[in-house]
């Protein structure tokens, strides 16, 4: 069964001046952990708001857990959990009060579904008497997740839950999502961090309101159309400039301690050696060039319209 279906959804703002979502079609299976991967302004939040029945699309149709987002909006609202990108709990209620408020609104109690949030709630329980507004970023994030889960939703929508969160807390958060998935909850999560894409079962790469591809991370990587190489030298900045001037190099992008490059014509051994020779002559020391497997970020860059 498909738990989330979007068919040709389009949404614009300011009388059509801002085209936020352009003809997006997408299906998420029941129990799937699905990622929307793209930068700010790609249209991720508009899609979430349409699916959670908070925003009407200009055209197209969408359904969540079998219910139409327009006709059956009430049925959807009681069956989904939504964690917006901006912290939107009650800052002047305590941790405990927020949680019990959301439980009450959904006609349930903290006790009834405690097993679902136990793992997460234990992190913030020592601060249950603290006002939500006084919590740290990481703890706010965990409380928001608990509040989105307290009515045991069928589908969970998480809009950039890890933005601005450090690498350790991000890993922890993804661990929580995997455990929720094991409980059968369908999760649609968005992130601007490309390295998180591989933690999803399937992902959609999205840019300027358009979906560039929908696949498993492995398949997206496998469909990268070029041979990709990692190159480095002692002076990485100068190397990047020299690579951009090299005629045989089709693309060069910095990736941490290496630059990732593709060649125009396949990059045969001779072409590579010639490039290395010229770079050596240009004064580069400790040069190394090796073939590598693309990352999701390489794929995203490759698929971005020029």
């Amino acid at each position: 069964m498909k738990d989330v279906v979007l068919e040709h959804i389009t949404k614009s703002y300011n009388k059509g001046a801002v085209r936020a979502v352009e003809d997006v079609s997408l299906e998420v299976d029941k129990g799937e952990l699905f990622g929307l991967i793209g930068p700010d302004g790609a249209g991720k939040t508009s899609i979430f708001r349409i699916l959670t029945t908070l925003l009407l699309a200009d055209s197209g149709s969408a359904a969540v857990h079998g219910f139409d987002v327009v006709k059956d909006f009430r049925a959807i609202r009681s069956r989904v959990g939504y964690m917006p990108g901006r912290f939107s709990l009650y800052q002047d209620l305590t941790v405990e009060e927020n949680l019990s408020f959301f439980a009450t609104v959904f006609n349930t109690s903290i006790q009834e579904n405690y097993d679902l949030i136990k793992d997460i709630y234990e992190h913030i329980e020592p601060f249950k008497k603290r006002r939500a507004g006084k919590l740290s970023g990481g703890m706010k994030q965990k409380l928001a997740l608990c509040c989105a889960l307290i009515h045991r939703p069928e589908v969970l929508f998480l809009d950039e839950p890890t933005t601005g969160v450090d690498a350790v807390s991000r890993k922890e958060f993804w661990g929580m999502l995997r455990r929720l998935k094991e409980q059968g909850i369908t999760i649609l999560v968005s992130t601007p961090y490309m390295d998180e894409a591989t933690l999803c079962e399937r992902i959609a790469l999205i840019q300027n309101g358009r979906i560039m591809s929908v696949e498993t991370p492995d398949n997206i990587i496998a469909s990268y159309p070029h041979a990709l190489y990692a190159i480095r030298s002692e002076n990485m900045n100068a190397l990047l400039h020299d690579l951009r001037r090299a005629g045989e190099v089709a693309s060069s992008h910095s990736f941490g301690d290496h630059h990732h490059i593709t060649f125009r014509a396949g990059g045969e051994e001779a072409v590579q050696q010639n490039l290395l020779q010229r770079l050596r002559e240009a004064g580069h020391r400790e040069l190394s060039l090796q073939p590598i497997r693309p990352t999701i970020e390489d794929c995203f860059i490759q698929q971005m319209p020029a």
Binding site: G38, P39, D40, G41, A42, H123, L135, S136, G137, G138, M139, T163, G164, V165, D166, A167, V168, S169, R170, K171, P192, Y193, M194, D195, Q207, M236, N237, H253, S254, F255, G256, D257, E297, F300, I301, M304
Partner: protein
């Protein structure tokens, strides 16, 4: 490399009541260096940065920023640094031109200086057609480039960048780092925080804050060797995992 020291701290600390937000940090940053200031949420980075920018008086310890004392010369510090963060950088309801004029003005540049430099800047950014547009209407990637350019418009000794690249697309993120390298080549010291570990690799040196203290400071290559890690991501994880303080 130029070894002129532009940031020097010695046992710099900040307490809030019983809470030691920054615990005796001592380090030096050199002119033209790209210095990464890393740490988990809550490690004390923001508090430390506020002291370095002259916005918060330390509880104890010493620090000189661009030669000025963080207790006595906070106004001089502010004139000699630039600052940009993802959260605040430009006035959305001013045009591109007005923003540049505003930032030039508050840093004490003359109208003539501002005019001459802003024309050159707009041309360099390729935004000649956007000067009369409200900044709020420009794409995020453009805004960030303008914000960075405004932060170094008055040729400060040091520019502080607090998570400057959050949320932008991968190409824009890289173009942004081109601007950072260019600024460093011109001798501007870049002091940057980021949650992207690949960006940590672009820094000449990195410091890693854990529970208010600097637990490591070295080049990315040396840190990876020391922690026998394949990437900065692993180094960060190893170090931050041991933190006692819980988030923010």
């Amino acid at each position: 490399m130029n070894r002129e020291i532009v940031i020097q701290t010695e046992r710099l600390s900040k307490h809030f009541g019983d809470f030691v937000a920054v615990n005796e940090i001592s380090f030096e940053v050199y002119a033209g260096e790209i210095f990464g200031f890393l740490g988990a949420n809550g490690a004390g980075k923001t508090t430390a940065m506020r002291m370095l920018c002259g916005l918060s008086i330390p509880t104890s310890g010493q620090a000189r920023i661009a030669g000025y004392d963080v207790y006595k010369n906070t106004e001089d510090i502010k004139k000699n640094i630039g600052y940009m963060s993802q959260k605040f950088s430009l006035y959305e309801d001013l045009t591109l031109e007005e923003n540049i004029r505003f930032f030039g003005g508050i840093y004490g540049m003359s109208s003539r200086q501002i005019k001459a430099k802003s024309d050159a800047l707009v041309e360099k950014l390729g935004m000649e057609n956007e000067t009369k547009k409200l900044v709020g209407a420009l794409p995020l990637g453009w805004k960030q480039k303008i914000a960075f350019s405004s932060a170094i418009f008055h040729d400060p000794k040091i520019v502080f960048l607090d998570e400057p690249t959050g949320g932008v697309d991968p190409i824009t993120r890289r173009q942004f780092w081109d601007l950072i390298y260019e600024a460093a080549d011109r001798g501007i010291t870049v002091f940057v925080t980021t949650h992207y570990m690949d960006e940590a690799e672009y820094c000449n040196r990195l410091s890693m804050m854990v529970d208010g203290a600097i637990k490591a400071l070295d080049s990315p290559a040396n840190l990876k060797e020391q922690y026998r890690a394949a990437s900065m991501d692993e180094v960060f994880y190893e170090m931050a995992r041991g933190a006692q303080r819980k988030a923010d």
